[in-house]
């Protein structure tokens, strides 16, 4: 009797769980709808970087899709001027697009935001850091300026960057504009920067489709996606810019700096020959780079440094020839790889062959063999590598949250696809009671799904198979949503922490300002210590711990983003390869 009573809730729960809430069906179509977690994270990111007004406007658009100005003003209750300003900011940063109204010609222009673009704010530090590792300080500052301002002309970027570099140099030295120009051109050559699509680009394409066949359902779908910058021929063409001069040093206090910057920018408005050509950061190119880096580090961790260098060489060789959505690189012969290996690696030909065989045999399948000609043809399995990395991420998430034995069950299910409860207990070599507990916990967390296969149509439990299984893609999607939630929680917590000690922070800022001004005026050391003592010991302690907490939270945001990137690329790669 007792067991029968207990059985009920479990069966019920199991039945509910097997209907996996998957977004699989959406497939490759452009997805502009966002989940609650994504919208929440977008809002927080916007609030931090563009203020609450922009947040409100963007959230309104994210929740309700395309809307015209009047509706936005009405729904948000924000004055029309501010809404217009907010939309401008969003457009400037590529997060918003305007299209003619859907109700036919003459209907008001509609605005639409792109959450994916907003979520990239989270990755800004990584873009900048990558630019630094690839192109040094100049590259770093170019990317930083462009990310801060959304889009700029080349001459504008070159001038500000040269000034900023000069500012950090020793007295009497300065940076020539030409240095920055060459760094900029390199970034464009490698497609890390691209021209912004001409304004109204979306408009013309849509009008064409609309006039071609007026009643097509494609027309609204076309306007959903932002116009691809690469569809314009001049996307990676550096204009000829007349820029001669050097970075200037400013002798200004810290506070007046920005205003002066703005003023000066307005003052020297001489023509440079690139007016109207605006540049933006090509996030997709950065993502390809991140993906390659992820594969290289994974190989280095799994095998060794040498094999990772071989994979790096293969990826570098095929960088230009492989399309961004390709499932694997173009086949490369062992001979070609050998010739391209930098001499400093000191890898002999037979050793290279051994390494390649090793890489092909590795269960992570980073490298595949595509043929035998030319000493063997090899490819890097880009998408499979992403899938395997995502799987490893899932496994480690399970391991860290539910312990290594639950992870064993999870891995077992991943490998064997479908298992009955009894089989799970046996194969995992875990006592039946504990195994059940773990399995049910995983099931309730939706990490494991239950598949019922009835032998008769009445679903009688005695004549039904109950198979446990793990679906990698939906699980990855769920984990991705969890990651978004985590980041949003981290930001929330950080805002809370800073709000709690707002007065203390303001006080310390004020005292620092006083100290700085005193030092500048050459005050006595006694005076300085006196001012310093205005912050008491406990206050100092509180400030230190606050700083520690904020740093931890910020760092955590950065690191969760690495997982987000991996899962996003995996999910995108699956939709790209099915289409």
């Amino acid at each position: 009797m007792k067991t029968a009573v207990r059985l009920q809730p479990i069966m019920h729960r199991a039945r509910r769980c097997c209907g996996i809430p998957a977004r699989e069906s959406r497939g490759a179509e452009v997805n502009t709808e966002m989940t609650t977690q994504e919208v929440r994270l977008c809002g927080l990111l916007l609030r931090e970087h563009f203020g609450e007004v922009v947040e409100k406007v963007a959230i309104q658009l994210l929740r309700n899709g395309a809307q015209n100005l009047r509706t936005i003003v009405h729904e948000t209750g924000i004055s029309a001027d501010l809404v217009k300003k907010s939309l401008c900011v969003l457009v400037q940063h590529g997060a918003c697009l305007f299209t003619p109204g859907r109700k036919g010609p003459g209907s008001p222009t509609e605005y639409r935001t792109f959450g994916d673009q907003i979520l990239r704010i989270l990755r800004y530090p990584r873009y900048i850091y990558t630019a630094k590792t690839l192109y040094g300080d100049t590259g770093e500052l170019i990317i930083e300026e462009l990310l801060q301002r959304g889009q700029m002309t080349m001459s504008g970027v070159v001038k500000t960057v040269a000034d900023r570099l000069t500012q950090n140099m020793e007295e009497g030295q300065s940076v020539d504009y030409s240095e920055v120009v060459s760094a900029f051109s390199k970034l464009v050559e490698t497609h890390f920067l691209q021209r912004c699509p001409p304004l109204g680009g979306g408009r013309t394409t849509e009008r064409q489709t609309a006039s071609g066949n007026p009643a097509t359902p494609d027309a609204p779908a076309a306007s959903k996606a932002p116009p691809a910058p690469e569809s314009f021929p001049d996307c990676y063409k550096v204009p000829h810019v007349k820029l001669i001069g050097r970075g200037k040093r400013q002798f200004a206090g810290e506070d007046g700096e920005d205003q002066r910057n703005a003023k000066r920018a307005r003052m020297d408005s001489e023509a440079h020959g690139d007016e109207g050509i605006y540049w933006q950061v090509n996030f997709e190119r950065f993502h390809l780079h991140f993906r390659d880096q992820a594969i290289i580090t994974a190989v280095a961790n799994k095998l060794d440094q040498t094999s990772s260098e071989i994979v790096r060489t293969m990826l570098r060789m095929s960088e230009v020839t492989t399309s961004p959505t390709a499932t694997c690189t173009k086949p490369l012969s062992a001979n070609e790889i050998f010739r391209s290996l930098p001499a400093s690696y000191n890898i002999a030909r037979p050793i290279l062959d051994q390494y390649l065989t090793l890489l092909v045999d590795d269960p992570m399948e980073f490298v595949g063999r595509a043929g035998e000609s030319g000493g063997g043809m090899f490819v890097v399995n880009l998408h499979r590598a992403l899938a395997n990395l995502a799987r490893a991420t899932l496994e480690s998430a399970v391991q860290e949250r539910f312990g290594s034995r639950s992870a064993r069950i999870f891995r077992l299910l991943l490998r064997k696809r479908h298992l009955e409860q009894k089989q799970v207990e046996d194969f995992a070599m875990i006592p039946a009671k504990e195994a059940k507990d773990m399995l049910y916990t995983l099931l309730s967390q939706n990490l494991v799904q239950l598949q019922e296969i009835p032998k008769t149509p009445d679903y009688a439990p005695s004549r039904t198979f109950y198979f446990y299984t793990v679906n990698q893609l939906p699980t990855a999607r769920m984990l991705l949503q969890n990651c978004y939630k985590t980041v949003a929680n981290l930001i929330d917590r950080r805002l809370f922490e800073t709000k709690e000690s707002k007065r203390l922070l303001e006080k310390s800022q004020r005292i620092e300002a006083i100290l700085a001004s005193l030092q500048a005026s050459g005050a006595e050391p006694e005076q300085l210590t006196e001012v310093k003592e205005m912050i008491t010991a406990p206050e100092k302690q509180q400030l230190d711990s606050l700083r520690l907490h904020v740093n931890k939270l910020d760092s955590a945001e950065n690191q969760v983003d690495e997982t987000i990137f991996l899962l996003e690329s995996y999910i995108n790669s699956t939709s790209a390869s099915t289409s």
Partner: protein, 196 residues
Amino acid sequence: MAGKGRGVAAFSFNIESLGIGRGNMPETRVGPTPLFPNTEFKPVPLKVGEDEDYMLALKQEMRGTMQRLPHNIKSQSGKAEVEKYTQRYLKQSRMDDEEWTPATKKKTVTKSLKDTADVLNKLEELAKKDDMNPEKSDDETEKEKKPGNEEDEDIEEEEYEEEDIEEDNDYIESYFDNGEDFGAGSDDNMDGEATY
């Protein structure tokens, strides 16, 4: 019959065959999981290194700069906002009066029980108003066909003030009168000033 139902079918077969025995079932769970459950496994420490430190610095610097850029739009604060709010509040309260008829009805019921003298007062006053209002509305129609919002408000306010002077009774009565008066006013508006 009884054995055929889905739930009861649990009796008709050997549960052991599913691997669910008497002793090896986990504890049943009662209620939702707590908001802050005890974490059995502590989180892994964050990665520490030069890269991470630099990215952290970049992130914080970026945030600081972005907040100082003109792209960071501040909502209007100070006097203007407060005034706007009161304006909106005035409009809103008026709309509420019109829409929330059930609430006002309720009040009339409770009120009518209160005092007959009040009712008499009210009748008197209504009579007065009937005398006054037509003139007024005529005036208004003569003045302008389509008066602006502000002017309307002014006129409305004048009316309120007049009532206050007319009778210094208790609060509830004046409330009720306002409602009535409003109704009357809006009736008048039907012919003259059709802005509402």
